[in-house]
Symmetry: C2
Subunit: 313 residues, 2 copies
């Protein structure tokens, strides 16, 4: 194993780059803007330039580099091709080949951003010490990443771990962004929780701190929940029942050692975890009823860590 590697987590506005030792130590991290103009054709050349600058700045030779792991906001097929990545403007992009050739043949591995975040949390975050992890990212949407025996389950269509689009309510009337109805994301994301709150507050209810909260968000729901607000408690209960039950179904498929909960909504912390765990344990098949829950530990760096881990697998 050589001494260094890069983890590059490409987002729609910026790329987070980490220089790592292959032991897992983060040496330095920085960001560059993502140039999505002209079908995103400058993204990989810009990254290559930034990596080469860093190498000459630190006097790192190519022969000291194990490889480069890349995460991106779209599906990556098992053959490494990105069929389409709307946020970057890419179509049929072979990241390994393109960036590899810009970097004189150095090994490049690519993965979906939610999946590499899961891998990062398994390696150096909330799932450290485990090889079988399900990560759940509660953000604007609901993302997921499934790690089995230390490897990402990317799926034959790049849809492995797309747990936000499990159908949890076939009676739902409102459409999900994906064009279907009743997806987990419609209830367990930040926008989903805000919707549950608006729906609850539109019905008759006792006096609630949420009535004074102005624009109701997932954050205001959890903040008032922590203050003991009964209506917020009902909303959190509904969210937790839906998410806990969905996770119990995932356990019947992948049976992980631990569920790692991340994303902006997870900043609500232990009270959120406790609520979801309660409904999970109620719904779970008995052999998996004791599966551990933990909060993600690497925040926005999880993807960068996971990218680095990609090239060590």
């Amino acid at each position: 194993m050589k001494k260094y590697g890069f983890g590059v987590d490409i987002g729609g506005t910026s790329c987070k780059i980490g220089l790592f030792e292959t032991t897992g130590r983060l040496v330095e991290k920085w960001e560059i803007p993502t140039d999505t103009r002209e079908g995103g054709k400058n993204i990989l050349p810009n990254i290559a330039k930034s990596l080469q600058n860093k190498m000459s700045e630190r006097g790192i030779a190519e022969r000291e580099l194990e490889g480069i792991g890349v995460g991106l906001p779209g599906p990556v097929r098992m053959d490494g091709i990105v069929p389409v990545c709307v946020n970057l403007g890419w179509k049929n992009m072979d990241v390994s080949k393109e960036l590899g050739s810009l970097m004189h043949g150095i090994l490049v591995e690519a993965g979906n951003d939610a999946n590499v975040a899961a891998l990062g949390e398994m390696w150096q975050g909330g799932g450290k010490g485990c090889e079988n992890v399900v990560m759940v990212t509660l953000g604007t949407g609901v993302g997921g990443g499934i790690i089995v025996n230390g490897k990402i389950v990317s799926g034959s269509n790049g849809a492995g771990g797309e747990i936000g689009h499990m159908t949890v309510d076939s009676q739902e009337k409102v459409f999900c962004n994906c064009g279907r109805k009743g997806c987990l994301e419609q209830y367990a994301s930040a926008t989903g929780i805000a919707r549950l709150a608006r729906e609850r507050l539109a019905l008759e209810h006792e006096k609630s701190l949420l009535d004074q909260a102005g624009k109701v968000s997932a954050k205001t729901v959890f903040d008032t929940y922590k203050e003991g607000d009964a209506v917020a408690g009902e909303i959190v209960d509904q969210f937790a029942r839906i998410l806990g039950t969905a996770l119990s179904n995932i356990a019947c498929v992948a049976d992980p050692e631990v569920f790692v909960i991340g994303g902006g909504v997870s900043k609500a912390g232990k009270p959120l975890l406790d609520a979801v765990e309660k409904y999970y344990r109620k719904a779970a098949f008995s052999p998996c009823a004791d599966t551990r829950f933990t909060l993600a530990a690497l925040g926005n760096d999880a993807g960068m860590y996971g990218c680095m881990k990609l090239i060590l697998n």
Copy 2:
């Protein structure tokens, strides 16, 4: 790779044993009774004797043997221990160690029977040519096996692929054998389909061939469905909607190349497959909407094949 291996699928009443070439060719198969008396302590010695007899009968030397794969009707932990196997009377059995020592140190690998059946179907059956397979066994219960990158997802508690216990209806009033309510198995197994039929026939309904069928079973439901019976059609629709939706949720986790449908109920053949596919495609997240469906091809030999494949991985 050596020339031969054995696949041993241990059931509650008999063990199905196959002598294979490591190319995948089945040389010979036979059965011996499973002696479950005295905590099942004779099961592995009896198997060892049978294998040794076969080897001397055919003049196969130990050095020609790659290993022995074993399937059994219970959970196998990732460390290879069988914590409890009710049908065999075992507790904390280390199959690899016990059978390995009876066979003079030959490699022994063990797996859960539903999981090895999935591996067998991937290797030489309905999923041949694929590395990412979900097998669904519709029998008295509903079993499953998840294969990712050619390997079984056994899960941290041995519950990987226990898809029969996914919760599909949290409003269900009747208990599942597992002690919970609303499991997939309660609607999609042979007994589940018979229950759906009895419930439907207890309500007002137009004249149906099922009224004359005597005891209603999954078989009579599908037989009359094939004759165009409208009430049977409604029952099959309900079964297919529930199973198809559950499989669409599994696709959001494991995203397989193919769903292989086996077990006694699958003898209903293509009409069953067509009905389940229809609802799957309706419910599926768009990247996985075209996933292939196929019938299992190895019947009761799937487990034996999968056992053999265990030692080749």
